[in-house]
């Protein structure tokens, strides 16, 4: 695709959204049988699964921590999730995303309750359209709750950026590619504390502040959808 002449026309984005508007977000909790907890997230054209196993015994043993559980995260993209087939296996990008995802989630967990254990979070991107790491964190946080892992709070995540000079929420692949700036963020929504922040592109001081504001507001909205997904699952269980 060639770069479009304008990414924002008459105040609206290519997909018709307003600058501060989220893509359609759908979250389902508990969709896998084998995993201890799981969640499925659709954010626009992103389709992401997360599964949680644990707390379970850590193997190999020499990696056990005597006074705490270890959180491991693996973010992975399916070969068919992107335009050009992605070769299976981790690359440098996925290693970094796995790391920042772990650091985004760990602040809300009581790992010290499970010495010598491990909690595994597996995130699989089935279809990608920019924002997969934020979709993955939203899914993982719901999957952790679904697994019954004690949590201080939820973690909610979204990207903000700059496109045609305008600060926008939740960039699509086209906006990410042709825009100026991408800033994924994750936060503990109740205390409004940021647990993930990455950025590349260009922001003045003012734009940085404005983008943070937009993200904080959106994370509250996402938090609501996450809670609803967990409530829905619980409701269905109760019916049964």
């Amino acid at each position: 695709m060639k770069k479009p002449e304008k990414l924002i026309k008459n105040g609206k984005r290519l997909d018709g959204r307003m600058p501060d508007e989220l893509r359609p977000l759908k979250i389902e909790a508990g969709i896998l049988e084998r995993a201890d907890g799981s969640a499925y997230v659709e954010l626009g054209a992103n389709k992401v699964l997360a599964a949680v196993y644990g707390p379970r015994e850590m193997h190999p043993r020499h990696r056990q921590q005597p006074d705490t559980a270890v959180l491991r995260c693996r973010y992975n993209m399916a070969p068919f999730s992107v335009d050009e087939r992605k070769r299976p296996g981790p690359d440098r990008r996925s290693v970094e995303i796995s790391k920042v995802t772990r650091e985004a989630l760990e602040p809300v967990l009581f790992l010290e309750l499970y010495p010598r254990s491990v909690i595994d979070v597996f995130i699989e991107v089935l279809q990608a359209d920019a924002g997969t790491r934020t979709a993955g964190i939203n899914a993982a946080a719901v999957a952790l709750a679904d697994a019954g892992v004690p949590m201080r709070d939820m973690v909610s995540s979204i990207a903000v950026g700059k496109v045609d000079g305008t600060i926008v929420l939740d960039l699509t692949k086209d906006e990410d590619q042709w825009g100026t700036t991408d800033m994924p963020i994750a936060m503990v929504p109740r205390k409004k504390l940021v647990t993930l922040l990455q950025m590349d592109g260009h922001f003045t001081k003012e734009e940085f502040g404005q983008a943070l504001g937009l993200a904080f507001k959106a994370c509250e909205q996402i938090y609501g959808i996450q809670r609803q997904a967990l409530r829905d699952k619980y409701a269905i269980k109760q019916e049964k």
């Binding site: 084998r34 699964l49 997360a50 399916a78 070969p79 068919f80 992107v82 335009d83 089935l126």
Partner: protein, 254 residues
């Protein structure tokens, strides 16, 4: 692929089988509930999500330019890859494909390749230089037994769903699928044969045999697995079960 089963449960399943029963009340020649949903993954040329009981597999097709093998200048390429995602089972580990993942990919590959399910001869752009490579990526999402059959079904369903790539080098009217191979795995427990073993049954089965058949009931691929044995009579009985169940599964492909 086996998971450890407690000896009590083991005895219970074996006892049931002695009475001609199965742990989930199925008959010996009965598959679990099968659902096939296609086209869910828009980033793939074709895709299918197949559920058999609680086992879930998604398969995606990508079609890309490639240089042909020197000894096959006039043939497109087929590459089957299977990932036993750690998401799908507490016993699957991240990292390089395990022996089981490799066997799975190769058995699915043989069913498709040997039946000529894809007309690879049509997938040549320029002899010896440029051909279409068809990638089938099999993604195990939730593992409750019988991953070969579920994966093979997802693979052929995804192929049937495949749209031609948006590329001016593509000149065929559609994606050239000419056969519908279907794999059926027959497990042996306590000297009895049964199709579609669930995870608990896999934990106690002595051996399995996977027979892939095509529309006319002929065989295009076989793979025995596990450390037990089969007599000649059992092999012939397994073939009959695979042919019959294969036809039923094929009907689900629409």
């Amino acid at each position: 692929m086996h998971e450890i089963v407690s000896s009590v449960r083991r005895d219970y399943i074996a006892d049931l089988v002695r009475q001609g029963k199965r742990i989930d009340t199925r008959t010996m020649d009965q598959f679990r509930e099968v659902s096939v949903e296609v086209g869910t993954i828009k980033s793939a040329q074709g895709s299918a999500l197949v559920k058999v009981g609680k086992t879930q597999v998604v398969a995606g097709i990508k079609v890309e330019h490639a240089e042909p093998f020197p000894d096959k200048p006039d043939s497109g390429m087929l590459i089957v890859n299977a990932e036993l995602l750690p998401l799908a089972s507490p016993t699957f580990e991240p990292g390089r494909p395990s022996e089981n993942a490799i066997e799975l990919a190769r058995v699915v590959d043989r069913g498709i390749r040997e039946s000529n399910a894809i007309d690879l001869d049509k997938l040549v752009i320029k002899s010896g230089e440029d051909v279409w490579a068809v990638f089938i990526d099999i993604y195990m999402l939730d593992y409750d037994g019988n991953l070969i059959d579920v994966s093979a079904l997802a693979a052929i369903a995804a192929l049937l769903n495949a749209k031609p790539p948006e590329d001016e080098a593509w000149t065929l009217p559609e994606f050239p699928i000419q056969k519908r191979p279907v794999a059926v795995t027959v497990a042996k427990i306590n000297s009895k044969l049964m199709v579609d073993p669930c995870l608990a049954e896999e934990g106690v089965m002595e051996a399995r045999i996977t027979i892939t058949t095509i529309e006319d009931g002929s065989i295009c691929a076989v793979q025995k697995g596990g450390i037990g044995c089969f007599s000649r009579e059992e092999l012939e009985q397994a073939y009959e079960m695979a042919r019959a169940e294969g036809a039923e599964l094929r009907a689900k492909l629409g």
